[in-house]
Amino acid sequence: MMKPIRCFTCGSLVAEKYSEFDKLVKAGGDPNEVMNSMKINRYCCRRMLLSNVNIIDHVLPFYEYLNQRRAEFESDTL
């Protein structure tokens, strides 16, 4: 659902590295080189970053819209 906190296999912390990794890759960096520079050496930790999908980002827009509609509805009825 969200970025995993630790690597499933070795247990090292990966969650805090994700946002930097994501930023550098979206800026056009090669994921392999970005991970090398961030010293994520083991392949168990590397797949944690590579294969993650933030499903929460696909779901939250519905709740944002819901909140917006609720505010509109409340201002209409007043």
Binding site: M2, I5, C7, C10, S12, L13, Y18, I56, D57, V59
Partner: protein, 215 residues
């Protein structure tokens, strides 16, 4: 017996052990993995959770956050004389998390997890995302961290990597290299020292028990 530190940083240490038998060195390696106690969140009281993440998942994520541990201050719950399920000041730390109100979608980070009773027991990194909340959603909870060992749950594992291998290609003259990597709760060298201490205490207990058999 000879000890030589080959590499040393806060979260990683490489030590050459000379003149120690394989079984003894391996005991240290295994204890570093499963018996060195560290702090992790164990009990959670959820006051409000209107985020889309289930309480269980939220609790699991909080548990996995490594907390800075001061082993001199706390004891394992089984060694504590209190009978409280949430622990006392000697065996647990309470933390609070409150997302507050927000106008836009925001990520709640581990930096917002505030320690109440002890300000030194805090997450090792303040940028670990816990949950994301949309406007109108709220997360408010109380968490209790305690010491535990890796045997019980992986969240209490002090070192995530602990490798023992012969320094030279062929394994002949009791010369091994031990590599310990820490999650940040304790420094790697602290894990090594604590592991040897635990091994010593266990052997001592064992000798006392076998000594009593003679009577």
């Amino acid at each position: 017996m000879k000890l030589k530190v080959l590499e040393k940083s806060i979260d990683r240490v490489k030590i050459q052990l000379q003149g120690i038998s394989l079984s003894y060195a391996n005991a240290i390696r295994r204890i570093a993995l499963s018996e060195v106690p560290v702090m992790a969140i164990d009990n959670i009281i959820i006051i409000e959770n209107s985020s889309i993440m289930y309480d269980e998942l939220l609790a699991h994520r909080l548990g996995l956050i490594p907390l800075k541990t001061d082993l001199s201050k706390y004891v394992l719950p089984k060694d504590c004389d209190c009978d409280n399920s949430l622990g006392c000041l000697k065996c647990s730390v309470s933390l609070v998390l409150d997302s507050g109100d927000n106008d836009s979608t925001k990520e709640i980070l581990s930096g917002q997890l505030k320690s109440v009773s002890d300000t030194t027991t805090i997450p090792v990194n303040s940028n670990i995302p816990i949950v994301k909340v949309a406007p109108g959603q709220k997360v408010s909870l109380e968490a209790y961290a305690r010491l535990g060992t890796g045997k019980e749950h992986a969240k209490w594992q002090a070192s995530n990597v602990s490798i023992l291998k012969p320094t030279k290609e062929e394994d002949t003259d009791n010369d091994y290299t031990l590599e310990i990597e820490s999650t940040g709760a304790l420094s790697a060298i602290e894990i090594f020292v604590k592991a040897t201490e635990i091994l010593r205490n266990e052997l001592q207990e064992f000798t006392e028990k076998t000594g009593s058999l003679k009577k």
